[in-house]
Symmetry: C2
Subunit: 378 residues, 2 copies
Amino acid sequence: MKFVINRDHLVRSVQDVMKAVSSRTTIPILTGIKIVATESGVTLTGSDSDISIESFIPTEEEDKVIVEVIKPGSVVLQARFFSEIVRKLPKDTVELEVQDHFVTTIRSGKTEFNLNGLDPEEYPRLPQIQEENVFKLPTDLLKNLIRQTVFAVSTSETRPILTGVNWRIENDELTCIATDSHRLALRRAKIETNTFSSYNIVIPGKSLNELSKILDDSNELVDIVITENQVLFKTKHLLFFSRLLDGNYPDTSRLIPTDSKTDIIVNAKEFLQAIDRASLLAREGRNNVVRLATLSDGIIEISSNSPEIGKVVEEIQSELVEGEELKISFSAKYMMDALKALEGTEIKISFTGAMRPFLIRALHDDSMLQLILPVRTY
Amino acid sequence: MKFVINRDHLVRSVQDVMKAVSSRTTIPILTGIKIVATESGVTLTGSDSDISIESFIPTEEEDKVIVEVIKPGSVVLQARFFSEIVRKLPKDTVELEVQDHFVTTIRSGKTEFNLNGLDPEEYPRLPQIQEENVFKLPTDLLKNLIRQTVFAVSTSETRPILTGVNWRIENDELTCIATDSHRLALRRAKIETNTFSSYNIVIPGKSLNELSKILDDSNELVDIVITENQVLFKTKHLLFFSRLLDGNYPDTSRLIPTDSKTDIIVNAKEFLQAIDRASLLAREGRNNVVRLATLSDGIIEISSNSPEIGKVVEEIQSELVEGEELKISFSAKYMMDALKALEGTEIKISFTGAMRPFLIRALHDDSMLQLILPVRTY
């Protein structure tokens, strides 16, 4: 293998595939990046066996030569060293050449590295995916779908299925749901598909977080292909594979209350800041719990106290309080996560009593909702 | 105690004195910030008993009211909570009022915190310093003096005196020296003093690092007062006290070679980047050691290798190589630290043989020098 490549393109591709490389792996070759040069360009692959990322660098882009492949071939290089080396090379172009025993020479200007490489034949093959059932999402919408749900997945392995986000596709609508059984985040979106099939899959939260980091902020379409045990996200030069979680995701629809006894509408930013302040002291006490009480004249009181440190009380003027009086306690962290996920300047919170789950929604947007279970303190 | 204060001024002062507060202290009251309100303004104090920082907020600044003191008094509040609370308060002004048992009410808008405070009488007194022997340094020069020497102090407590920077004042000249016995950094500066006394003190490296963080980037003069066991740095609204290290600093003048056998002049940035690249592999091997060899025609070769990972060789075109041929090995980290500390685009390195300490200087600047002991590998 021998090729000359534009350094900036190489650096970017290496950074992308590095997101899948874990230093803590039981399969030594997965600490490496696989590099394959063909006549059409160079492909880099990184994988931790749950997530695999493939980045393709074409020989030309917009009439500019990016790679000149002198001899096709392949090698696996230690990801950590290779990524640091390419970032620090002195010139705009880099030459890579595989010598005997996979020793690879990396040249740039008057700098020459010789890295011990590994046999690419030992690198695991990526899943072969039939691209029949494809649907498309704009990159920015995909990133929003992830951001607004993934924080609510469970971090505990007691119920592994809850560490993933449930994606359901039916009638050209995608519904994403995450819950750790104390709170739930839901987001719906219209999608374009080429099929009438419906899907019900669970994607590991970790995969979605990594995917979100790797996607740029554009509205270009991402192709999404679902198979029995894998999901593939395809952008122009990037393939992102993730395994799916085994098992049935619980039916959460019964959890979401349909009626309410108390509704409040507040300014989202003001409310978030009040909860944030109350949580300063709540964090020290048990479970970061703050209290909310409706007072007269649409005033809402947020409070918390920690006997050793002190207490905090503050009042917020709501835009609307409707229904029964209410005193309720909940996790400040869950509330802040939910408020950050929602968009919009005004939010509506619908309660059905101090011990029942409550709903938080942006005022004029039905596509997303957040649900939180209260904590018993009163 | 009761006063109303501008929030931004309070936030800045709290941030400054927080630099001296340690969460790991054996004296519980030092986890707090002492607040004293008098008719002339509010003084905050933080201390870890090695370093103490006092910040004064005057009642008026540039004809604008900053503090309105309603009732003089004092209290000690938990630093961690107090600092987070003031940062997150909703309005531009904050009211502080001490109630019974040092419980302190912090009000801003519709937010009210009640923090359990401590008795200010239990807070240790700051050293009383006679301001007789004062000298002055511009802030930016002081920060440079620190930056260019403090990185070379020892991090090991085997010889505690080497964890500090030696400041010597004689004939209106200040000399700052730091060494960990493997490398040495020296910087000289002319100063203005009101005395003919000479001083020889050792300031803990940690104190200088904290001082540097707290100083802004201006050329305003800092007053420096030295006593038997304390040094005080005074800016407009800030007092920074540090204890001095006990003991005699070693005489380092004999270590600095006066002649040389090989001199090289190189571009500082190019040389730093080459060492940085070589150290990528050296870090894995023993002690991060890189090799330098003079070749013909003024070419300098930098190399390193790590049998398991690979090797790197690169050539630099020097501007001058004078004297004997040379092969020498040294710590890449020490060299990079030294190069970052020096200013100037060209540097001169003077060697007196492969096993003798060598000097690194900016080409046309005698006020600073860096010395490194080589490592035996050839």
